[in-house]
């Protein structure tokens, strides 16, 4: 049990997928302009990443490895994630409109989110077992959502600040992300 806890803390704080592993930066800068959008995106990523992490792990372990097709991993994973995201989107739109209203519009964005694909690949590269893969996928996504929401809070505040004209937009976003990353480095000593 404590192993999983350690893994969770590590994935959320120390090796934060956005700030330490540089995965999923495009939406991080794109979707963090408003708090509610960031929250929606964070939730959608938690949902899809957990699902995708588990399903790609099953496919890898029970299909690709036994059939000796490991070299197809990249292409199979991306296809599975794309199909999965599309399916979830269609499914939610009809069956759970309330949830779709909150997450729906963020789903297509996730197909090309390298965080999802990256975590799926890390799961199998590190040779996690099923539980580890589940916990790692979920907590990585939580780390992503946490960083995204924090960033949105900062950027909402920054909207009223006087920023030098040459730094406006993405530049100040990157510098802010840098300072957030620095803060997260402080968790390094925890484990």
């Amino acid at each position: 049990m404590s192993d999983y806890l350690l893994m969770a803390i590590s994935a959320i704080f120390i090796n934060n997928i956005l700030l330490a592993q540089y995965l999923g930066n495009c939406p991080f800068l794109g979707v963090s302009k408003k708090m509610d959008t960031a929250t929606g995106m964070g939730m959608a990523v938690i949902f899809v990443l957990t699902l995708a992490g588990v399903i790609t792990w099953i496919i890898d372990v029970y299909l690709l490895c036994p059939m000796d097709l490991v070299y197809l991993r990249t292409i199979v994973f991306i296809l599975v994630i794309a199909a999965l995201v599309q399916f979830v989107e269609i499914f939610l739109k009809k069956m759970v409109p309330a949830l779709y209203a909150g997450l729906g519009i963020f789903l297509p964005l996730i197909t090309t989110n390298c965080a999802v694909f990256g975590v799926a690949v890390i799961n199998v590269r590190e040779g996690f077992n099923f539980m580890e893969a589940l916990v790692f996928s979920f907590t990585s996504a939580v780390g992503f959502a946490l960083a995204l929401v924090l960033m949105a809070g900062l950027r909402e505040r920054m909207a009223t600040a006087r920023i030098p004209q040459v730094l406006e937009g993405t530049a100040i976003g990157l510098v802010t992300a840098g300072f957030m990353s620095l803060a997260f480095l402080g968790f390094m000593g925890m484990v």
Binding site: I75, I78, I122, V166, F179, S181, L182
Partner: protein
Amino acid sequence: MGLVREFTKGLWDEIPPFRLVLGLCPTLAVTKTLKDGLGMGLAVIFVLLCSNVLISILRNIIPPKVRIACYIVVIATFVVIVELVMQAFTYELYQDLGIFIPLIVVNCIVLGRAEAFASKNGVLASAADGLGIGVGFTLSLTVLGSIREALGCGTLSLKIPFTDISHVYNLFGPSFKPFAFMVSAPGAFICLGMLLCLMNIIGNLKKS
């Protein structure tokens, strides 16, 4: 003339990731050193060039409804090829870049060019566009890699992939204390942010 224009726009006017703010993840992750940045850049050039050419050839066959899925399959195929080639011939680089090689699949630059350019233009123009954007991306990566390595380690390590030519230049002599911040994650963000700022300043100067 047209082809030259398609090629050169990737070098300044639309240079990623500065002008087109796409493909940030590899930009941040693999620019710890000059050689990593260069290797990544070459891999992206290959994938971008091949996928642009193939998609441009197939552009009239692919049904529009499933075009994104088709593009992803094409890109993924070339990424697998790059992955296998690098594993075979430049194992050290393959180890350094790690997960970011398969991640080229989800690099928005590749998919973005496929949709925005290759699906609407001829083969030669698409090839020029892919090459131009790829070279531009590589340039950005090498510049960023050089700055971070120079400040972070005090060295510049050059290695041409697929050859034995490699050299590590020591820039500042033995008394230099490496600025380790630059090779860590926060350094990557701040360094890229500052470069963007520099680009804006240059842009402003050009305008006035």
